[in-house]
Symmetry: C2
Subunit: 357 residues, 2 copies
Amino acid sequence: MKRKVYNFSPGPALLPADVMEIAQREFLDYKGSGMSILEVSHRSGVFQEVIENAEANLRQLMAIPENYEVLFLQGGASTQFAMVPLNLMKNGKAAFWDTGRWSERAIAEAEKYGNTQVLSSSRDRNYSYVPPLDLDKVSPETDYLHITTNNTIFGTRLSQIPDSKKIPLVADMSSNILSETYQVEDFGLIYAGAQKNIGPAGMTVVIIRKDLIGSAHELCPKMLNYQTHSEKNSLYNTPPTFAIYLTGLVFKWTLDMGGVSALEVQNRKKAQLLYDFIDSSSFYSANISEPDRSWMNICFKTPDGESDLKLVGFAEEKGCMFLKGHRSVGGLRASLYNSMNLEGVEYLVEVLDEFQK
Amino acid sequence: MKRKVYNFSPGPALLPADVMEIAQREFLDYKGSGMSILEVSHRSGVFQEVIENAEANLRQLMAIPENYEVLFLQGGASTQFAMVPLNLMKNGKAAFWDTGRWSERAIAEAEKYGNTQVLSSSRDRNYSYVPPLDLDKVSPETDYLHITTNNTIFGTRLSQIPDSKKIPLVADMSSNILSETYQVEDFGLIYAGAQKNIGPAGMTVVIIRKDLIGSAHELCPKMLNYQTHSEKNSLYNTPPTFAIYLTGLVFKWTLDMGGVSALEVQNRKKAQLLYDFIDSSSFYSANISEPDRSWMNICFKTPDGESDLKLVGFAEEKGCMFLKGHRSVGGLRASLYNSMNLEGVEYLVEVLDEFQK
């Protein structure tokens, strides 16, 4: 399907056109059942197949080893900020690589349940760079090291994953899961709100090494205990069935597109195209320098705030939506998640070029 | 639209056919925006209108007074089982009217955070009746009295709401919200998972008296603090946007149907039709007696378990889906939420009659 507009929203974001067409087609009558997938019990065979396929496809996409559980939960990354310490802080100590707003929030929640050690932070310059990390600072009794692989608001990306053999690495991958290849074995726990790269709002994927399950804080709410969901294959209570269905379709689409490695190639190309245009322009500028630049969220600006605002309006008229930067940064931001194709970025460059002229 | 099947699922359940048609029609292109409502930012004007309308319509449907907040959250009733004590248990004491599985779970969670007093329970006979409640047993320093207005699994309903002037009444209305008229002023807090009577799985409505907000436990996760969501009009983090949109359409539909009082008349009629048929039959029986019978979930059975199972298969062939009773009760159950029309119940009675012959 030809899109009428190109949607650069940071999230909830664009979904693959093919996925949306399938979902619309079977919206009222799922596979001839006479019912919508929205209307069937989560304990029915129909839904069982949906959730099992979703898990199997994600396992294939990320090559998730057997000793990891895949959970489909609710509450977004913001709930994970509390769930992680409530479940993993056995020794009451966690370390953080503070690279943005979401790292900050993860720290604030963890502080309620134990001691937090900020190993490194770029807060001094409004998170406009990825600060160096010295792993030797981490004491061995630390329960986990928390990182944010991509910072949606500030447009930065960790170009290197810490080689943390001593303590479990916990990664918030909300804004770049499935956009590039990671080795799941490098992590103790990975979480991601679906609404940026893999699905609609209202669902969170958690990938957790099994030995990290079962040591929750005594005051941990049952619903915030990974064990609850692990024991019941994410069906302890009614899960967000439609969000799981739709995310499952995106996983299938990702496989059909050639998997994560194929999309990574495309994502680098898309980002490079836009950064190259910005760097070659005397009108636009990007203040994040290589190698910290995000491939998902490209932050840039015109010479002044007034032109930034004018551009947002101009671009919308041309069908390029949601280019306004986050209020804590200002300027402009184009989010180029997996669902955005190269054609969309090429068109955006045309529109940006037209505006500067 | 004529349904191919009649769906008696206890939840996720049938949604109004008109609502589903609207949602399908605008699935790819919401109001000419060129984007799906699934793909727009929760901070966009487009979504702002959706959530504001949803709240306004719910306020109208339930005549919610100004001193109550309406919140759209995630995590289902199961998360509320912990949120309620984490937010309301200032004196560390809660009382319960134990009328089913969900009451039990609410008690189990509250026990983590304080003392629980079970005023009355029907656990002795597998929750097959609503036990009498003596409010004089409640001490005045009790933080809240928790009730479940309708018990989905066991097919019972509270025919009287406790006249609790002394302490805030907290009600789990997951399976009968908007099915009959309640006075919101009688409650301190009402919560309901959407997936039974008002929308899809993945969204929970909370209606809370404002003075009950702001006293959360010091270890309460930020996402489980009502204050977090109240201060940000349910937009502290990314909410389940599509579920809120769809629930908003159901609220609008409910208004168009004449509001709660009109649906209450219809719901009584539907339930009466089915109970009358069961009571007049020598083959079927319902073991819940008046006035404890649910209008939403009609539990019944044939003379033996084998026939129960046969009936489930027979009914499915005839297009009557999901009649199997909950595994902890056995037998049969037909859930007749707001979206099920009288015609569906009439057809079910025909099918049941055909089977007994």
